[in-house]
């Protein structure tokens, strides 16, 4: 199970090493998430989604990459179903993370259902670096803090987008940078780099022709490459 946990929280900056659940570590994370939220809110407002939609999306979905990807698919002319599928594909990792944190949650279905909604890369990553007796508390604190930062950041960004042109301060550059960091965090060794390159290239080649399907096709190509490529000895599969 520990292996699942480590792999599943891959996109987390140095997740599971324990020490980042220090107050300063959690503060830095909260700041980064708030910044990401601001960039998302500003970008969403700039693309005509208004204020309510992005804030509600952040509060309910609480998965930045999927929210941006879904609106990206729509913006490039893809159908609603493709947008939901792409977003859902990105959020499927929460299934694994939910299973990882599951034993640390208290009994009682209502409590479990409510706390499961805080499941996200960082809270689970931080919690599983802790002793079993502390996990529930740390998960709850980190999860609530980061949820607040994400929703608050989105609101702030969208409100700022109302007042001035956020493209001028490079909000979209920040979002691209966040995807690049998430990718780099996933890449451990040449095999993973190859899979990432396949996913990137297939998407890039298809974008001018079928923008709506390009992301899905690229991800499918990446998964296919992952199945076909034989892991080298000593390399993380």
């Amino acid at each position: 199970m520990a292996e699942v946990a480590d792999a599943a929280v891959g996109p987390v900056p140095s997740a599971g090493t324990g020490h980042q659940s220090s107050a300063s570590g959690i503060f830095l994370m909260t700041a980064a998430v708030a910044l990401f939220g601001c960039a998302y809110g500003a970008d969403a407002y700039a693309s005509g989604q208004g204020l309510l939609k992005p804030v509600l999306a952040s509060a309910l979905i609480n998965g930045g990459a999927s929210q941006i990807a879904a609106s990206g698919v729509l913006r490039t002319g893809g159908p609603a179903v493709a947008a939901i599928l792409v977003g859902l594909a990105l959020n499927l990792r929460f299934l694994a993370l939910g299973i990882v944190i599951s034993p640390s949650l208290p009994h009682g279905r209502a409590t479990r259902l409510l706390s499961s909604q805080l499941v996200s890369d960082l809270p689970v990553g931080v919690a599983i670096g802790e002793r079993l007796s502390h996990r529930w508390r740390i998960f709850l604190i980190t999860g609530a803090l980061l949820w607040g930062a994400w929703v608050g950041g989105t609101l702030l960004g969208a409100a700022a987008g109302r007042m001035f042109n956020v493209a001028a301060i490079g909000a979209n550059g920040a979002i691209t940078a966040s995807f690049i960091s998430l990718t780099v965090d996933q890449v451990s060794g040449w095999r993973a780099a190859g899979i990432a390159a396949v996913a990137f290239t297939v998407t890039a080649l298809l974008l001018p022709f079928t923008p709506g399907a390009a992301v899905l096709a690229g991800a499918a190509a990446g998964l296919a490459a992952d199945r076909l490529a034989i892991p080298r000895p000593g390399e993380v599969a």
Binding site: P13, A31, G98, I99, P103, T176, A177, T203
Partner: protein
Amino acid sequence: VSWTVLLGLAVATLAVKAAGPLLLARHSLAPSVQRIVQSMPLAIYPTLVASATMPGGNGTGTLTERLVPAVLVLGLLIAVRRRNIFAVAMLAGAVATALIRLAGA
């Protein structure tokens, strides 16, 4: 996002998050399924980078404005090789984009 996509994705995501703690508390996923779930982020994030930077994607601004900051951020992340610089990478991306825009490239 349209309301359909917002609500559809919200309901689907809430279900995915609740599934583990509610249903699978005493079981784990089949290894083959686990493997696919684990590989998803690696297969998906690069496609988002592509659609944010390459022609035909959802990026705004000129191609230079999208590509140059992306290459700089990638270089920074590879050079520094530390994992806790998420915030720094985002700031770098924003600053680079803003500067190139300002320069009118």
